[in-house]
Amino acid sequence: MSAPEKTALAVSSSPHAHSGASVRGIMMDVLVAMIPAGIAAFMFFGWNAIRLILVCSATSVLAEWATRRIMKREAAIDDLSAVVTGVLLAFNLPPSLPSWMAAVGAFAAVVIAKQVYGGLGYNVFNPALVGRTVLLISFPVAMTTWTMPSLYCAGMDAVTTATPLGAWKTAWSAGAAPEGFFAAFPLSGLVTGNRPGCLGETSAIALGLGAIYLLLRRCIYWHAPAGFFGAVAVISASLYALDPARNLPPAYHLLSGGLFLGAFFMATDMVTTPVTRSGQLIFGLGCGLLTMVIRRWGGYPEGVSFSILIMNSLTPLINRATRPRVFGTRSKLA
């Protein structure tokens, strides 16, 4: 061996092999998985979709870059997590929301929900959902102004309308079932995405495609979505069985609102949900239960965002409660 080669040998701890996975790679996978829903958003809501996705992701990245610079922390925008937050936030906004409001939301998501806590990995709450909640509280009217998908009325000015869950709740708070509900909101529209709602939440089929990709890439596990869908299905079916006139059929609860987006893309967020798979199942069940409580008895027609945020706060407790059994021990250690 010649001398220069000797000095060049790297010495590091085992293991010397690695799966090749990276944080950036995972974020890239999430972005890829959001492409079908992004396309669906463009199909149904036109240029508003592009506008909001661009505004939110650009603001997120800029806010991330600037805050880390101000706080004298290492730059982190190349991990792509800010882009993911931006796109997810855009998916959670009504298509007609003014750009400046969207930017406020993205700023809140990245700066308040994430960087103030220490950046990626340290945030307690899902940043995109914090951004959405800040907007919902700050701009309640703009955040609940819905437009008809443009396939319904191509070329016309945006027609304001109500979401399926919103229409149901508004009518019932006046004391009666909405007229022509099932004709206005056929199940087929809920599956394809041809219905009013947030940009990226309407197309169950596009979100499902993305979810399959994430499952195959091992970026998410089935446990949280299964718990989420399972709880919503069981509770909504029970309510429907008890009083079919007052309660929506389970299919409507499963396919409308933000359930697909929330269950597959936000209840599976790595940082803010449990690390154990049994914990993820519990997390999902809790989300489903809270979603149904809010939808049926709460003040909001839709409960996915709040339920996930509430469950985020329980993540450390769930982690603690679902610690795996240590090899060679009878039961879990307290």
């Binding site: 040998l9 590091s12 085992s14 010397h16 799966s19 790679g25 596990y221 993820q280 060679g328």
Partner: protein
């Protein structure tokens, strides 16, 4: 008895690319004796051996050059005849310093008077066989190097009913055990039966991963017509299937209790190479002075399986394989998952050196670690059922009581967590640091408690 599938699977684990094809079909070749041998006096777990030769001494092959210095210790023998050039403390293949006996071979390879062969070991007293194994300097050749005579001497009250011979070889790249099982299956089986005899065990199994069907067939053939409850257990190929506790669980369904030893569940595990060494010591009277080593990796020109003398310099072994090629980033003693990166190649191979792996600069690239994103992949991968992510954060924050509470001491340092971690966190280093600190603090607490008792 035909081979059967292991009744249980390991918890977690990972599936790295096995990279064994470069050497798995290459028969073991006997390496020449190198121009100098660097024989470490600390090739085993426990107290380092005490060198009993000095500079200028002439030694014969098989002569004791370092004596066991305690109960958990082992003798070291001259791997060939020649002259002792020096006895100094220097770097060894474990990347730690130890006394090393440097021998210049005389080319005669002359044996010391060997121990008398025991043809009829079946009627020998277990105690005599254990003494023979101790005298032969046999240690666990799978990597840990635990002195074999200690493992074969369970304290009174512990009875062993199951012996498992470990042919899992779950580390990627390594094929030394694989080739040994193919080419020396009779010796492995003979050693296995001697071990069973010593322990008075009723059950004897050989565990082999299912990626080595030819080794499974060879061992089955060697074991044909065996008496008692014996057989090849086919293990699912998954790292760390060959870890002692994981292997016992896969084969018997028993779990070694946390903090306990295999003998607590009536089991003893010995590596296939150890079994072959036991057979040689008992039936031929020869001490352990050579072993099969896989020299491989993308930067080794002609990877080979070599039967090399203990103390053969790693650099010389690599030269026997055509030398290094390409831009070498790291040379590892052992496998890629638990092996030790060597800062210097002028170190002698140990009794525990199953492989030498030279990987490229690209493969050895170092990454900065990022904060944990709580993806949970380490939790899924951990064969011990730990939360490596949480442990790592506790240890980073020096919360050692918390780390102890959530079982840091149960970590086996297999590296499955770090293999999976997308943030490339130094999880294994954290675990080692945590284990060490927790043990130190525990000892301090115990010492303080004893002091209090005495003052009363």
């Amino acid at each position: 008895m035909t081979a059967i599938r292991a009744p249980f699977r390991i918890r977690g684990g990972v599936h790295p690319h096995d990279s064994k094809s470069a050497t798995s079909a290459l028969p073991v070749e006997t390496a020449a004796v190198p121009p100098r041998l660097l024989v470490s006096a600390s090739q085993h777990l426990g107290a380092p051996s005490k060198p009993v030769v000095k500079k200028g001494d002439a030694v014969l092959r098989g002569q004791v050059i370092a004596e066991a210095s305690g109960y958990v210790s082992s003798a070291v023998h001259a791997p060939t005849s020649g002259t002792v050039k020096s006895v100094t403390s220097m770097l060894t293949a474990t990347a730690r310093h130890a006394f090393v006996v440097e021998i210049e071979p005389d080319g005669q390879d002359k044996w010391v008077e060997p121990l008398h062969p025991m043809a009829d070991w079946t009627s020998a007293a277990p105690r005599d066989l254990v003494n023979r194994i101790a005298a032969a300097g046999i240690v666990g050749m799978g990597g840990a190097g635990f002195p074999t005579q200690v493992k074969l001497s369970p304290p009174p009250g512990k009875s062993i009913d199951t012996v498992i011979i470990n042919g899992a070889e779950c580390e990627p790249f390594l094929t030394a055990d694989h080739r040994l099982m193919l080419e020396q299956s009779d010796a492995v089986w003979l050693g296995a039966r001697i071990i069973r005899h010593i322990l008075g065990a009723s059950r004897l199994f050989v565990g082999i991963e299912d990626n080595k069907p030819d080794a499974i067939a060879a061992m089955e053939k060697a074991m044909a017509g065996a008496d008692g409850e014996t057989g090849v257990i086919i293990l699912k190929s998954r790292y760390p299937q060959g870890a002692e506790k994981q292997l016992i669980r896969s084969v018997t369904g028993r779990e070694v209790p946390s903090g306990g030893l295999p003998m607590d569940v009536g089991a003893v595990v010995e590596n296939v190479a150890t079994a072959a060494a036991v057979a040689a010591a008992v039936t031929r009277g020869v001490p352990l002075t050579e072993r099969v080593i896989t020299i491989t990796g993308e930067c080794v020109k002609n990877p080979r399986n070599l039967l090399a003398r203990v103390g053969t310099p790693i650099s010389w072994l690599i030269e026997q394989c055509g030398g290094l090629t390409g831009s070498v980033g790291k040379v590892i003693s052992g496998g890629p998952m638990m092996g030790v990166a060597l800062p210097d190649l002028d170190v002698g191979a140990n009794k525990t050196t199953s492989g030498v792996l030279a990987i490229s600069r690209e493969s050895a690239r170092q990454f900065g670690s990022e904060p944990c994103i709580a993806c949970g992949r380490c939790v899924i991968a951990c064969p011990s059922g730990l939360l490596p992510c949480t442990l790592s954060e506790h240890i980073e924050a020096e919360q050692f009581d918390d780390a102890e509470r959530i079982s840091v001491l149960d970590c086996i340092e297999c590296g499955a967590c770090a293999f999976e971690c997308p943030a490339r966190r130094p999880l294994v280093q954290h675990m080692r640091q945590g284990k060490q600190t927790v043990l130190t603090r525990r000892r301090a607490r115990e010492a303080a408690a004893r002091g209090k008792e005495e003052r009363k």
